[in-house]
């Protein structure tokens, strides 16, 4: 007979450890037998999973109980390889755990609060750690990232985009420094005929060479595919994830045609798993050669990439690129700012260097908050365990007197805290993933959703488990040691009854409450500052009125509409939308205020002033709009006029400037500039101001008014635009009607993100909302915990000083005096905590200032209201138990001994 397959060794060992010796042969034999059967039926892997399940679901305690009832009738046959003392240890452990669990279940309220507070602390930490590790420690799949670098142009910021000309110079002027060079830009593309858009990377040059990630199946792009527009069929390389999602991993897709932006493209390769572009969180699905970049070689919209040759250091690379910049600057007009490159190693970039710099302080803030929350949870647990230890002092004294070992009592208390710690840890991991999923599903002001890997990762799991066990052991051991040190005799004599007893313990518990109060002050002040900031931000005059406005994005460019068709479509769309009931004004525009988006392609210059070297043109933000745009969004045209249909014709370009743009060009926002000429960096150079509009907030509420230029969309046709409709009735219903109407007009038109302008503008409030929500939420929680702790301290004092109260009452003290006396001890602690907390909050406020809007970090309102509020809560928490003291019957209290 062939040897039977052996079940997994470690699972067998676990079963052996759990089983009493008497049952080992029978049960392990039975399970091995069934395992062999299952291997034959459904394969080794499923059989092993089943075997593990059996090991985990074994009920050793029930088996032992039944075995004991047999009074030794079952003899173990044979000898076990597991040593008896090990088995006893295991049995003792199981026993202690069971005992601990049973004890904890006897006080379900205590256990629930302890587990909940630990779970919240651990959950918040896990969430923060997972998020930050997903962004900053995540692996973007680039081979040897320290040998690759991103190249930007230093302009207004060090991370300005480069142009195709810059890229070409990088590629051609350098022999031997770089092995591969590339440039790329991120776009969204519509896939198939659905309304789904996916992140697409348009690449020039040898992108996959720079990343060190050759396609796993098929081929990379070949030279010429990125520059030769008429080179035949267009090609695409798919990310592994997209290939799995969309084509279920079918290898036959290579060589097949798919449709991107309504154009047929041929799949030539599939990337290995783990690489979805260099920016973590974006998750590029398709990579296509960027034939459009060479067509406008001067526009700055690319990110450069290089891979260093062997032996070339990052410093040498920087020097080489500085030389490239110098050669580019030769023959460049002196009035333009000289070109300089910024080189950032891929290993130092998570998302984008500029975004990383903005996100890091937020990550630090998040960590500070969650660490504070965990500290509060731990102090909370500690004060609970202290209370319990005090309550059970007598029980322990009795057990010690009856001969129980101190080690056993300490180990029992430790196991209880460990059980709490593990339960809290499990709850925390669950809360963390729930919270993160919720966070990632929140609408972000981004064109594509965030794609972050927040699956349970071993590091996060170990981190949380470590934190929870540490918390359990650390806070379990202090009261445990204290309890076991209890002197037997005085405790049995009921020390609690004496007049002076219990002061030292109170001060330890008082310190914990004080720390809790202080920490809740810090969190509440932080939350309050964000709330105030939110209030300010919501009241900011953004320069437009999003009420009653519905917006849908129409994208004829992705359906391969030619320009003429596109224009006609826009006209029809405006006409059709006007017929929707309730609609009063309809307009088109490439953006609405408070939207992320960049468009600075048009430079403006006064013909009558000598250009300043390096600042020849002013590059304002640009929006292409139809005549009714200003009316639809209630953007006031201060001087001159809005666009008319006549502006679509030839001749000098009609310009509408914002006041900020007027100020930037002429120095005074009130200058009457209507009718004046300006030199435009494109479109034959001639422009004429026809109107001046009020400045609006462009990207964020906190910004200072930035120059903005409006151009007629009828003259400069745009491949995608927002269809904007003002009217009566709910805007969301109107947005849906607009979407339906557009689809009816052109069934293959790509229509997406129907929403209200209010919702779109609301995204600008995301940070203050998030900050206020997180900090105020945790602050309230901390305050609740501090209140519970305070309640505990005062009730403990009341219980401890019962006898004293009895004496005082019998000597003629009034009930109010007694209550006041009891409360004084608690409120003193609170006052101290408030003081410490306010000092810490003042320091924290300074650090928070960069996140706040319109509020100082020392905002007096917040700093006044938080302590008042906290005092009120603390007062109630102390008053409830203190009231009990006044009901003490003197005769009973004195008789208690």
């Amino acid at each position: 007979m062939a040897a039977d397959p052996r079940p997994p060794r470690s699972a067998s060992a676990l079963i052996r450890l759990l089983l009493p010796l008497e049952l080992e042969q029978a049960i392990l034999g039975d399970l091995s037998e069934e395992y062999a059967e299952r291997v034959k039926e459904s394969g080794r892997r499923r059989a092993a999973a089943w075997f593990w399940l059996q090991a985990i679901t074994l009920r050793p305690l029930r088996l032992r109980r039944a075995l004991r009832a047999l009074n030794g009738a079952w003899h173990p046959g044979g000898r076990s390889p597991i040593h008896t003392s090990l088995r006893h240890l295991m049995e003792a452990l199981v026993q202690t755990m069971r005992h601990a669990t049973r004890r904890l279940l006897k006080t379900p309220g205590f256990t629930a609060i302890a587990v909940l507070s630990l779970g919240l602390g651990i959950g918040a930490n896990t969430a923060a750690f997972t998020l930050v590790s997903a962004i900053f420690l995540g692996d973007d799949g680039i081979a040897e990232p320290e040998r690759a670098a991103q190249v930007y142009r230093a302009f207004d910021s060090p991370y300005w985009s480069i142009s195709w000309n810059d890229y070409r110079a990088m590629r051609d002027d350098l022999g031997g420094v770089f092995t591969h060079t590339t440039a790329h830009r991120l776009r969204t593309m519509r896939v198939g005929d659905s309304d789904e858009v996916i992140p697409a990377l348009l690449v020039s040059g040898d992108y996959f060479g720079v990343m060190g990630v050759p396609p796993r199946v098929g081929r990379p792009f070949v030279p010429g595919e990125d520059t030769d527009v008429d080179a035949g069929p267009e090609v695409v390389i798919l990310s592994h994830g997209f290939w799995m999602r969309r084509f279920a991993g079918d290898p036959g897709v290579v060589g097949r045609e798919i449709r991107l932006n309504a154009r047929p493209v041929t799949v030539v390769g599939i990337l290995p798993p783990g690489f979805e572009g260099a920016a973590i969180g974006i998750g590029v699905d398709v990579f296509v050669p960027d034939a459009g970049a060479v067509a406008s070689p001067g526009s700055d919209n690319l990110i450069g990439g290089v891979r260093l040759a062997d032996g070339v250091s990052m410093e040498q690379a920087r020097a080489a690129l500085a030389a490239v910049a110098a050669s580019l600057n030769e023959g460049r007009p002196e009035s333009l700012r000289p070109i300089a490159f910024t080189v950032v190693p891929e290993s130092e970039v998570a998302v984008h260097p500029g975004i990383d710099e903005a996100v890091l302080p937020m990550a630090a803030l998040l960590f500070a908050v969650v660490v504070l929350v965990l500290l509060i949870a731990c102090t909370n647990l500690a004060s609970f365990l202290l209370t319990r230890a005090a309550d059970r002092k007598k029980e322990f004294a009795v057990r010690i007197a009856m001969g129980a070992g101190r080690g056993r009592i300490v180990s029992q208390l430790l196991t209880e805290s460990m059980v709490l710690g593990v339960l809290g840890g499990v709850l925390g991991v669950g809360l963390a993933y729930g919270g993160l999923t919720l966070l990632l599903s929140m609408p972000l002001p981004l064109p594509v959703g965030l794609r972050l890997d927040i699956a349970p990762d071993l590091r996060v799991l170990l981190f949380t488990l470590g934190v929870s066990l540490l918390a359990g052991v650390a806070f379990g051991s202090a009261p445990a040691l204290q309890a076991s040190r209890a002197e037997v005799a005085p405790t049995l004599r009921d020390e609690a009854g004496s007049v002076t007893g219990g002061r030292r313990k109170l001060s330890l518990r008082g310190t914990l409450v004080m720390a809790q109060v202080a920490m809740s002050v810090v969190l509440l002040v932080g939350g309050g500052l964000f709330l105030r900031s939110l209030g300010r931000a919501a009241n900011v005059d953004a320069g437009f009125n999003p009420d009653d406005v519905a917006v849908v994005t129409v994208d004829p460019g992705t359906t391969a509409y030619e320009e003429e068709e596109g224009r006609r479509l826009y006209r029809d769309l405006l006409e059709r939308t006007r017929q929707i009931p309730g609609v009063t004004t309809v307009a088109l525009g490439t953006r609405i205020p408070l939207q992320v988006g960049i468009g600075r392609g048009f430079g403006l210059r006064r013909p009558d002033v000598e250009p300043v070297p390096g600042r020849e043109f002013l590059f304002p933000q640009v929006a292409f709009v139809s005549p009714d745009y200003f009316e639809a969004l209630d953007i006031e045209v201060l001087r001159g006029r809005a666009f008319t249909d006549a502006d679509d014709g030839a001749g000098s370009v009609p310009l509408i400037l914002t006041e900020a743009a007027v100020a930037a060009l002429w120095g005074d926002p009130r200058e009457d500039v209507v009718g004046r000429s300006l030199v435009v960096s494109r479109a034959d150079g001639a422009g004429r101001v026809v109107g001046v509009a009020r400045s609006t907030k462009i990207v964020s509420l906190g910004e200072d008014p930035e120059p903005m230029l409006y151009l007629p969309i009828g003259r400069f046709h745009q491949g995608a635009a927002l269809l904007i409709a003002e009217g009566s009735g709910p805007p969301s219903a109107r947005a849906a009607a607009m979407r339906a109407a557009a689809k009816e007009l052109a069934p293959d038109l790509y229509v997406h993100s129907a929403m209200t302008a209010e919702a779109s503008a609301g995204a600008a409030l995301l940070l203050p909302r998030l900050g206020a929500g997180v900090l105020a939420g945790f602050g309230a929680l901390a305050m609740l915990m501090a209140a519970i702790g305070l309640y505990g301290v005062v009730s403990y004092t009341v219980a401890q000083r019962r006898r004293e109260v009895g004496i005082r009452l019998s000597l003629g003290a009034t009930a109010e005096e007694v209550v006041r006396m009891m409360m004084a001890s608690g409120m003193g602690v609170v006052g101290l905590g408030l003081l410490v907390g306010l000092v810490a909050a003042a320091a924290a406020g300074r650090l928070l200032e960069r996140f706040l809007f319109g509020v100082s970090g020392m905002d007096p309102v917040t700093f006044l209201l938080v302590p008042v509020f906290l005092l009120a809560v603390a007062f109630v928490a102390a008053w409830i138990p203190a009231r009990r003291a006044s009901r003490v019957q003197p005769s009973e209290a004195l008789r208690a001994e």
């Binding site: 049952l23 042969q25 029978a26 049960i27 034999g29 039975d30 037998e33 679901t57 009738a73 044979g78």
Partner: protein, 115 residues
């Protein structure tokens, strides 16, 4: 009949399986029998706890067999029904018979609506 003497549902099924399996009754075969005949999938621990309880009540007796190569060299614990066990099963069946007596008509499926 005393309360603690009453046989539980699972106890009864396990006991019947032991009788049916005769010489070949041990943990794994009893479990198989419960699965194939009664459609009940019972955990290993539960089967053994039940068997031990039956032995405590004196309804089965058990003994360790010789180690066999098939099950990783582990011996089987064989179970046999005792006289008391047989008697108890007969009593249980008699009780069930009495309870069922005359109920065949009332429990015919379609009748309830016909009346």
């Amino acid at each position: 009949m005393g309360r603690e003497q009453h046989l539980g549902d699972l106890e009864q099924l396990v006991l019947l399986a032991v009788v049916r399996l005769g010489k070949d009754a041990y943990g794994a075969s009893v479990r198989r029998e419960l699965r194939s005949r009664a459609g009940r999938s019972v955990a290993v621990s539960t089967v053994y706890v039940t068997l031990m309880r039956l032995e405590e009540k004196g309804l089965v007796r058990s003994g360790l067999g010789a180690p066999t190569a098939v099950r990783g060299g582990k011996a089987k614990r064989h179970f046999r029904v005792t006289e008391a066990g047989v008697e108890r099963l007969q009593e249980e069946r008699a009780v069930l018979r009495r309870m069922w007596d005359g109920l065949d008509d009332a429990l015919r499926p379609a009748d309830a609506h016909g009346r």
